[in-house]
């Protein structure tokens, strides 16, 4: 009964979404206020019924209802309840429902927080999002019904959730990632609404900016969690693999990075308008493309969901309709007249343009690398795989190229600036950073390393810009804590994100260059030195978990005779699937991780063991966390909630509607 109720709820959500896709848009064309007013109500309605469907599916998972196909395929009665719940999105059908739930959540948020906006704008934005919801609800109902029953051949127990996914990181990774992915539909909808209305101006940029920042922030957090999960759960110590599915989330992030910065220029200066619209379309298109790549089976990846061509064709048609129509609209309606606002070749506008170019190029090269095997295959030129060497070779120089400008841009002036002024302001601290960088290239345990020096130079240079900017802003603002009030959330968020970027650069380079690892055979009583630490295998043991049995090895880690940590890596065998998993044991700290993973037992009580010393690896995720939180902090800026201003905009909007 419960699955059928869920199915009905999903169908009702589909009908409400269809109403949302058509009525307010039609109303905006006919200037029918009543019809436009339906938009927020319908958006909330879609959300409620999708949430209901979601709750029913979750109930089926928690009650071990193995008559439901996805429950039987992805859950098991022995699974701990929290994983029964998260198993809901560990598969294609359920994760699609989560996708739609989050989309309807964003629609509701737009309906709720956009009361100050012109009605016609709200109606169009929600209607565009309604169209996207219609597509995905139809996708779910027609090709991927999560409520399908397995009758009469009901299995006694379920297949179990893939042990890789039985992990706390995987409970929150997909929801966060989807928050970002799907959240990019909001700036997209604003861009389309603005194109339809023909009003691409500073106020449009100001409305869509907070949404973009939040979505992009969530995307950053989602990607960070995925990387962190891969690091500790795959038992290998790697943190980025350039896997097609990782790329699928990384491309919208790169395009989103360009968009976040381009929107700033459009809001402040009214330039780059067409470009910003295009970026908003691209960023969401890449989200949809990612969905296509992950679910259609055109590329092989471990992450990819079980797929079939019918589903692939559905998303492709949907993708073609959404992106094709958007780009056609862009071609017809984008402002044809170049903006009258001008800016000099040396100005903040130019610097942000460099950011835009670099990140767009970066997204493009990742796209090319991801699709290259498909292109070669399509033209029967053979089957290829593009590995990390390609991505590293093109991506790392691009990031190194953009970093120097990150210091100057926040300090620079709009419209017209002079390189001489930058030189004057930055030359002394730059020399300081250079000296520190040169010194730090000798600091590694393995002697001189130029890459460490360069990474410190770039990261230090970015931090220098943030510090400079901070000092400039608090200068002359009185004494004591009151000075802090001079700092706007926008500034704090931007600084946090830029510092986070510096931390990621530093962490990535240092851990790549200075990582030490050793594969060896160890029996009880053996010990080994690595990175200045002593690892001793004290004893072996066994353990029975809720749905697995494990072999454990107890290691004592000491430095200079002082015991630092006891680490217990495991080798688990999951009962339902028989899959064997490596649970690495990690002693984490800000400056280094010590990482122990068990290999195979190799006789006479000995195990193959991998020890790793990973300096600064935490900085990667700490940095990404700062980037994500920084982006989210910016929405608390006062200018996004100035009531008086929005009032006047409402009138403006009504005027715009009538004209």
């Amino acid at each position: 009964m419960i699955p059928e109720l869920g199915h009905v709820a999903l169908i009702i959500a589909f009908m409400l979404a269809s109403g949302l896709a058509v009525l307010p848009m039609w109303g905006s064309a006919r200037r029918d206020v009543a019809m436009m007013n339906l938009a927020p109500t319908l958006a909330v309605g879609v959300m409620l019924f999708v949430a209901l469907a979601f709750a029913f599916l979750a109930t089926s998972f928690l009650q071990d209802d193995f008559t439901v196909a996805v429950v039987a395929a992805n859950s098991n009665s022995l699974l701990p309840p929290i994983f029964k719940f998260s198993a809901l999105w560990g598969n294609h059908e359920g994760s699609l429902l989560l996708w739609v739930l989050i989309l309807s959540g964003w629609m509701t948020a737009v309906a709720f927080f956009s009361r100050g906006l012109p009605l016609v704008m709200v109606a169009r934005v929600l209607s565009v999002m309604g169209m996207i919801a219609v597509g995905f609800l139809a996708f779910s109902l027609l090709t991927s019904n999560p409520f399908e029953r397995l009758l009469p051949t009901t299995p006694l127990d379920g297949n179990d959730l893939n042990p890789l996914l039985q992990d706390p990181g995987l409970i929150i990774h997909p929801p966060l990632l989807y928050m970002g992915y799907v959240g990019l539909s909001v700036p997209f909808a604003f861009a389309i609404a603005a194109l339809i209305g023909g009003r691409l101006d500073a106020s449009w940029a100001r409305w869509s900016r907070p949404w973009t920042n939040v979505a992009w922030g969530f995307l950053s957090l989602g990607i960070m969690l995925g990387s962190w999960w891969a690091y500790y759960e795959l038992g290998w110590g790697g943190w980025w693999f350039w896997d097609p599915v990782e790329n699928a989330s990384f491309m919208p992030w790169l395009m989103g990075t360009a968009l976040v910065h381009s929107l700033a220029v459009t809001e402040k200066r009214g330039v780059f308008r067409s470009w910003t619209v295009l970026l908003a379309i691209f960023a969401f298109s890449l989200s949809l493309l990612g969905t296509f790549l992950v679910r259609s089976g055109v590329l092989t990846s471990v992450h990819a969901f079980a797929s079939d061509p019918e589903r692939g064709l559905f998303i492709l048609i949907f993708l073609a309709l959404v992106v094709g129509a958007s780009l056609l609209l862009y071609a017809l309606r984008a402002p044809a007249v170049a903006s009258r606002v001008s800016y000099g070749p040396v100005s903040r506008e130019s610097l942000l343009m460099i950011n835009n170019l670099v990140f767009t190029v970066a997204a493009t090269v990742v796209l090319l690398g991801t699709l290259f095997p498909l292109v070669m295959d399509a033209f029967s030129l053979g089957k290829y795989s593009v590995g990390p060497p390609y991505f590293n070779a093109v991506f790392v120089p691009l990031m190194a190229l953009v970093t120097p400008f990150m210091t100057v841009a926040p300090l620079s002036r709009w419209r017209e600036d002079s390189a001489a002024r930058w030189l004057h302001e930055l030359v002394v601290p730059a020399i300081g950073v250079g000296v520190i960088a040169a010194a730090s290239s000798f600091m590694g345990q393995q002697g001189f390393n130029i890459w460490i020096g360069l990474a410190v130079l770039l990261a230090g240079w970015v931090s220098l810009g943030v510090v400079k900017d901070f000092l400039r802003r608090v200068k002359g603002k009185g004494q004591g804590p009151f000075r802090w009030r001079a700092l706007s959330p926008s500034f704090i968020g931007m600084s946090l994100a830029h510092l986070g970027f510096a931390a990621v650069v530093l962490g990535a380079v240092v851990v790549t260059q200075e990582n030490q690892e050793r594969d060896l055979r160890m029996a009880v009583g053996d010990s080994e030195e690595l990175g200045g630490y002593r690892f001793e295998l004290k004893r072996l043991g066994q353990l029975a978990g809720p749905n697995y049995v494990a072999e454990q090895a107890v290691f004592e880690v000491s430095r200079a005779g002082e015991l630092l940590a006891v680490l217990v890596p495991e080798k688990r065998r999951y009962l339902a699937s028989g899959q064997v998993m490596t649970e690495a044991a990690i002693d984490a700290s800000l400056w280094r991780d010590l990482y122990i993973a068990l290999g195979e037992p190799i006789g006479e009580g000995a195990w193959a063991v991998r020890l790793q010393y990973k300096p600064l690896v935490r900085w990667l995720w700490l940095g990404a966390l700062m980037i994500g939180l920084g982006a989210i902090v910016t929405v608390f800026d006062r200018r996004y909630r100035a009531q008086a201003q929005t009032r006047s905009m409402i009138e403006h909007g009504v005027v715009g509607l009538a004209s």
């Binding site: 259609s296 055109v298 053979g382 195979e600």
Partner: protein
């Protein structure tokens, strides 16, 4: 209205056409031309012994050729199953694809070595001749050295008993038993 405004639409149309073509191709499918053909000729180095080996080294009985690399993390998931197959007497040859031999040796030391020998293919030239799509990939070659089957992606019990067991009949029952034990 300017023509350049249509460029994004044009670029996207080409992309969409490509993706449509991509749907009709199965990336895991062996180009039909290579099925039944002899395994490509090669002269390479064996990973562990450092000796020179040629195509002849892999003849005489049906065997698996497993394409792997340390940079491929699905290979890591696949590895325990390969060890099990090797224990059951299925001959497996490794093709260490575009990898660092030192890392590859460390991997075998740590995780165990299911391979009879390992062809070191640093530049991926043999992989190119073979039409390797990515790692992991597993080929079945017959006693006469002809390619009989290709599987792209992780090899596990389900895949083995479905697609591979006809060439390794007595081994299949052992691995089939393992499945029952696992799910029962």
């Amino acid at each position: 209205m300017r023509v350049s405004r249509f460029l994004p639409l044009l670029a996207f149309s080409m992309l969409a056409a490509l993706l449509y073509k991509g749907l009709s191709i199965d990336p895991t499918e062996l180009p039909a031309a290579r099925l039944g053909q002899p395994f490509p000729e090669f002269i390479k180095i064996d990973l562990k012994s450092g000796r020179e080996i040629t195509t002849d080294a892999m003849m005489r009985r049906p065997a698996l050729v497993n394409v792997w690399a340390t940079w491929c993390y699905s290979c890591r998931l696949e590895h325990p199953y390969l060890l099990r197959l090797a224990q059951q007497g299925v001959p497996i040859y490794g093709l260490n694809y575009k990898d660092d031999p030192d890392k590859a040796l460390g991997w075998l030391e740590q995780l165990g070595d299911p391979y009879q020998l390992n062809i070191v293919d640093i530049e991926g030239s043999l992989g190119l001749d073979l039409g390797v799509y990515g790692a992991p990939e597993t080929y079945v070659i017959g006693a006469d050295g002809r390619i009989l089957h290709r599987h792209v992606g992780v090899l596990d019990e389900t895949v083995f008993s479905r697609d591979f067991s006809r060439w390794f009949p007595n081994k299949a029952s052992v691995s089939g038993g393992a499945i029952d034990e696992g799910s029962g």
